[in-house]
Symmetry: C2
Subunit: 223 residues, 2 copies
């Protein structure tokens, strides 16, 4: 197919397709003449992956490129795939305090978690604890319960990876699962938070059923 068809089927403009190709995220199509290049289904799939990582996952184009390079790399092992996906979320972490790091390590000991020293989650979690401390928000009580919940999540993640067939598909599952999993969890957390709030602070919404269509909307205005 030509670039216009590829554009229509993915919703990505031809100019952006060229841009992604230039940046190495999308392999070039097969040149079939001076002014014709043939794209196939693999380009459609790749483009959808790119948009999922960028739009939904919130990655930059450069980070998406690294993630995709990891997926394409034929001999990459699970450890490397994890590492690249873990590092892909762009966040300039301020160096955390040693007390915050010790708090994280305490949680790790409690739950029997062991990692290599440079796991990016450790400074990330620790810097959040620092921020929470300076903003007078005390989450020390929630930390072990978060960790308990995360154990369930990580176990589910690994099961999904194990169930994903061959090595190639496994790598993609790892990478996509890490990036999009964070967003999925954030969405579920928003739903659950609202539900739990209603349950605690008012009886207006009946637990166990979704909002009925046509029912009066409880609106929330943003100022």
């Amino acid at each position: 197919m030509r670039i216009s068809e590829l554009s229509e089927r993915t919703g990505v403009s031809p100019a952006s397709i060229k841009y992604y190709t230039r940046e190495g995220l999308l392999p070039a199509g097969e040149r079939t003449g001076y002014n014709s290049t043939a794209y196939d289904e693999s380009h459609v799939a790749r483009l959808r992956l790119i948009r999922a990582l960028i739009d939904t996952g919130g990655l930059t184009v450069a980070a998406a490129g690294e993630v995709i390079a990891a997926i394409d790399s034929p001999d990459i092992d699970l450890d490397h795939a994890f590492g690249i996906a873990q590092r892909s979320v762009p966040r300039d972490v301020t160096p955390p305090s040693s007390t915050a790091i010790e708090q994280v390590r305490a949680v790790m000991r409690e739950r029997g978690w062991a990692t290599v020293a440079d796991n990016p989650g450790i400074p990330l979690a620790a810097s959040v604890l620092d921020d929470l401390a300076t903003t007078r928000t005390d989450l020390s009580a929630v930390l072990p319960r978060y960790a308990e919940a995360i154990d369930i999540i990580a176990e589910a993640d690994l099961d999904a990876v194990a169930a994903s067939g061959d090595r190639d598909q496994m790598t993609e599952t790892v990478v996509v699962g890490i990036v999009l999993g964070d967003v999925l969890l954030a969405g579920l957390r928003r739903i659950a938070q609202e539900s739990h709030t209603h349950r605690r602070y008012r009886g207006g919404v009946v637990p166990g059923q979704a909002h009925e269509p046509g029912q009066a909307n409880e609106t929330r205005e943003l100022t």
Copy 2:
């Protein structure tokens, strides 16, 4: 204190302080003459909050402004605070398919979650499911387990809110907890994922203890 001292104590440049004041994130100091303005401890705390929301939480300056306006608003109720914080993470969600929304609703029914129709978590989670479907990643098995874990997290969140004293502090806990909580969970998930990977696929790392300093580093190169 003057702007230079405020800058030193927070690590934010005077130019940026002025910028945040212009954008309404930071209240202006008390003008004490043509070329002198007095800032106090509240400005220090506010600036730290701003940087936590922007740097760690990944909010834009505009979104941080809305969140801060919610915290400042004296008569805001919990529902509104939740709503504003929930909407603050900037992500242009593509309209999800109805099947994805139904998947989310099924999870909600299963767990007894009830929300108003416009909870932003629903389209967010649903659009992730759409992305996962088009990238051939099957997470249907993990969804109920994610939901189970999220129930624990949301319960802990609400406990933290309830424990946070007066109304003003409660609002700040809600808002900061939602925004930074996502990042904290992402960090813990990365740690747990690596730990679970080691436990499953190799016996090299002993569970139950953190990485020893001085031990040979298992490096991960990024290409």
